[in-house]
């Protein structure tokens, strides 16, 4: 009793000390800011931005508010993180499977790749892609053109895209719809397999839904396509993937893929050998056994370490500030902070945004992990 009361007092003292420290910091900061005549409020968010952003998913001009600039930057961060996560996962899975393959040469090569790219800093890899590889791409006048639709030069990768905002909206809606349908089909297929044991070619059907529905929607609504056109200053029109974006996606995904491949390899090796033998003795082919027996079990082991890698990848999108990709750190800590001169509020906002998105990613993956978990055992 005496002991627990003493512990309680210790804790209260601790909380008091933390609170006192926070108060002290707060008051000193306030004093400093007042002395220096720096404002600390969020009014600046509604001021006219007065600068342009090189890439924006939603329309943005210098006349829009800083808040809108912030949304643009956040979307840029999310797109970058998403693209890098998808690429890193695919590359990581391929590398991990190559490591596990019985083919000596293949697994050695995958190992070499992993050992090389894991031990070189991500920022260096990004610089390499941006400042070295970018230079070897052709100039605009000598672009690599494929079927008049794909254009690659040192100003980026140009793809056909919807011609106007309405078209872009239709495409986005159709994409969401396609994802919904694909999910429903997957769900139905697994239900049917449980009930009847009949399998369904989920992968190919899902892919064709994801590709087909948006195309169908585009065709159905008579959407105008815009193809990359050579203009006075190089190509324009359609969808442009900026070199900064490409360099970041390459750098971040090639770096993080090494970690993912290790996760894939170790979680497959962690499965008891009996699993594969049992599946083979049931007459399943090796591919089917991997896909239906091993992968689902390996996934369960994979998710927690994968969460860490994905979070790290998301955090390292801030490295974009080193090259000119306009994401949260670059736009906020760079441009806006210098424009407005309110470091405290801007930094706080930046930190909170990163913490919030990290939290969302962690929650999503935790939810997925719980869904995968064995039930009733």
């Amino acid at each position: 009793m005496n002991m627990s009361r003493r512990l309680l007092i210790y804790q209260l003292l601790l909380v008091a000390a933390v609170a006192a420290l926070a108060c002290l910091l707060f008051s000193v900061t306030q004093e400093n800011l007042a002395r220096l005549g720096v404002d600390s409020n969020f009014d600046f968010l509604f001021r006219r931005a007065g600068f342009e952003i090189g890439q924006s998913l939603i329309p943005f001009s210098a006349d829009d508010s800083i808040l809108r600039a912030f949304v643009v930057a956040l979307l840029n961060t999310l797109v970058l993180a998403m693209a890098a996560i998808v690429c890193a996962s695919m590359l990581g899975l391929a590398l991990g499977l190559a490591r596990l393959s019985g083919n000596w040469l293949l697994s050695r090569m995958a190992l070499t790749y992993v050992e090389i790219f894991r031990n070189v800093p991500a920022l260096l890899q990004i610089f390499f892609w941006y400042f070295v590889v970018l230079r070897t791409l052709p100039r605009s006048a000598h672009s690599t053109v494929l079927w008049d639709a794909l254009v690659l030069n040192n100003r980026g990768l140009f793809l056909p895209g919807p011609a106007d905002n309405a078209g872009a909206f239709v495409m986005a809606a159709a994409m969401l719809l396609a994802i919904g349908i694909a999910w429903a089909v997957g769900h139905w297929a697994s239900l049917r397999r449980y009930q009847t044991g009949r399998s369904f070619p989920v992968l190919s059907v899902t892919l064709s839904i994801l590709g087909g529905v948006p195309l169908l929607a585009a065709w159905g609504t008579g959407m105008q396509w815009e193809f990359p056109q050579a203009g006075r200053f190089g190509y324009g029109g359609g969808i442009v993937l900026l070199p900064e974006f490409l360099a970041l996606v390459c750098g971040l995904s090639m770096y993080n893929a090494t970690y993912i491949s290790e996760i894939v390899r170790s979680s497959f090796s962690a499965l008891p050998r009996g699993q594969l033998e049992a599946a083979e003795s049931l007459g399943l082919s090796r591919q089917v056994a991997v896909r239906l027996v091993l992968l689902p079990q390996a996934m369960r082991i994979m998710i927690p370490p994968l969460t860490t890698v994905y979070l790290n990848l998301f955090k390292s999108t801030s490295l974009a500030a080193a090259i000119a990709y306009p994401e949260v750190t670059s736009v906020f800590v760079g441009t806006v902070n210098n424009l407005v001169g309110q470091p405290v509020t801007i930094m706080a906002l930046t930190l909170v945004i990163y913490a919030f998105v990290s939290l969302c990613i962690a929650l999503c993956l935790n939810w997925y992990q719980r869904r995968l978990a064995l039930r009733g055992t």
């Binding site: 006192a20 108060c23 002290l24 707060f26 008051s27 000193v28 306030q30 400093n32 007042a34 002395r35 220096l36 005549g37 720096v38 404002d39 007065g50 600068f51 342009e52 952003i53 090189g54 001009s61 210098a62 006349d63 400042f131 970018l134 230079r135 100039r139 040192n154 100003r155 203009g231 006075r232 200053f233 190089g234 324009g236 070199p243 900064e244 500030a321 080193a322 090259i323 000119a324 306009p326 670059s330 800590v333 760079g334 441009t335 902070n337 210098n338 424009l339 407005v340 001169g341 470091p343």
Partner: protein, 332 residues
């Protein structure tokens, strides 16, 4: 919003030493903390002897010479990201480089300017074979730019007002922006003209590029100081003024000894501390300006050291007698 009443406990924690003036702080510390931008040819470079040199460095030296009579300086490398806030928060005493004196900067950020030491303007660097001759030719171009300056806004304003479009590629620092321009990532690079000229002077393919004559903005550069210390601002302002005045009065690094001994001009005598107590009024020694000229030289001396090798002409930065804008305030 301020805390209504601080607990007594917290009051105890705050060091009792009240913030003395910047000059006293510098004296006590024993050296000046000068914010500089790393590797900005003409302004701040590390020369072959491994020493810092350049126009900004001379500016730091001017102040140190005035205060200590020798170069007791800690150069604090800053990036555009950190420069203004570092100054606000007291990490540096003065920041001579790259800071355009504009209304918003002066009014809102808690900072002050102490004069104009360089009259510059924002202009564009383009490839000669790009067909761009005037700014009006650049509708739709991709333009590389560095963060942390007024350049971004100037360009948005200028293009916006003329209904022209451009794609901005905003780099964290000038060198990376130029590197990307050199790699043909953008059609033009925009910056203050003198600094661009300095940086590209040694490019092997310098002749394939040109800096446009047309200027889209005025960029008067001045040393930045904190707003809360007017006496420090006076000191910075008058130290620099001594550099300009010396040129107007014909005093330079080579002849300053002789001028101090022999000059019969009353203003020269006052400036160099032969007569009057001008230094003491600034909180400095009597021979503060003499030390500046002796150790760093007048404006022409500094220009010749830093910018002449890069092929830059005085232009707007000549003294008013020579058709420029620099005009010293009188030592009276």
């Amino acid at each position: 919003m301020r805390l209504p009443g601080m607990p007594a406990l917290l009051l105890l924690c705050i060091p009792l030493a009240a913030p003395a003036g910047t000059l006293e702080a510098v004296r006590e510390r024993g050296f000046l903390r000068c914010g500089i931008v790393e590797s900005s040819p003409g302004f701040s470079v590390i020369n072959d002897q491994g020493e810092r040199a350049g126009f900004d460095i001379d500016h730091c030296k001017t102040l140190a010479a005035a205060i200590f009579g020798e170069f007791k300086i800690e150069y604090v490398p800053v990036t555009p990201h950190t420069a203004f806030t570092l100054l606000q928060s007291g990490g540096v005493d003065v920041f001579p480089d790259g800071a355009t004196w504009s209304f918003t900067r002066d009014i809102s950020v808690g900072l002050d300017y102490a004069g104009v030491y360089l009259f510059a303007g924002q202009t564009f660097l383009v490839r000669k074979d790009s067909g761009i001759r005037r700014v009006a030719d650049m509708d739709g171009a991709t333009i590389c730019i560095a963060q942390g300056t007024t350049l971004e806004q100037n360009m948005a304003d200028y293009f916006g007002a003329r209904g022209m479009h451009y794609q901005a590629l905003t780099f964290a620092d000038i060198d990376k922006g130029l590197q990307a321009y050199h790699a043909d990532r953008c059609d033009a690079f925009t910056n203050e003209g003198a600094s661009t000229a300095g940086r590209i002077a040694n490019w092997p393919d310098r002749d394939d590029h040109m800096i446009m004559e047309e200027v889209i903005s005025k960029e008067p550069f001045g040393p930045m100081v904190r707003q809360d210390d007017p006496r420090w601002r006076d000191l910075v302002l008058w130290s620099f003024n001594a550099v300009i005045a010396a040129e107007e009065l014909g005093v330079n690094q080579a002849n300053v000894e002789e001028q101090r001994r022999t000059s019969q001009v009353a203003e020269v005598q006052r400036m160099l501390g032969v007569n009057g107590a001008f230094g003491e009024k600034l909180g400095l020694s009597k021979d503060w300006a003499y030390n500046i000229i002796r150790l760093v030289g007048n404006y022409e001396d500094q220009w010749r050291r830093s910018f002449t090798p890069l092929g830059l002409k005085r232009g707007l930065n000549a003294t008013w007698q020579n058709g420029g804008l620099h005009s010293a305030l009188p030592f009276r």
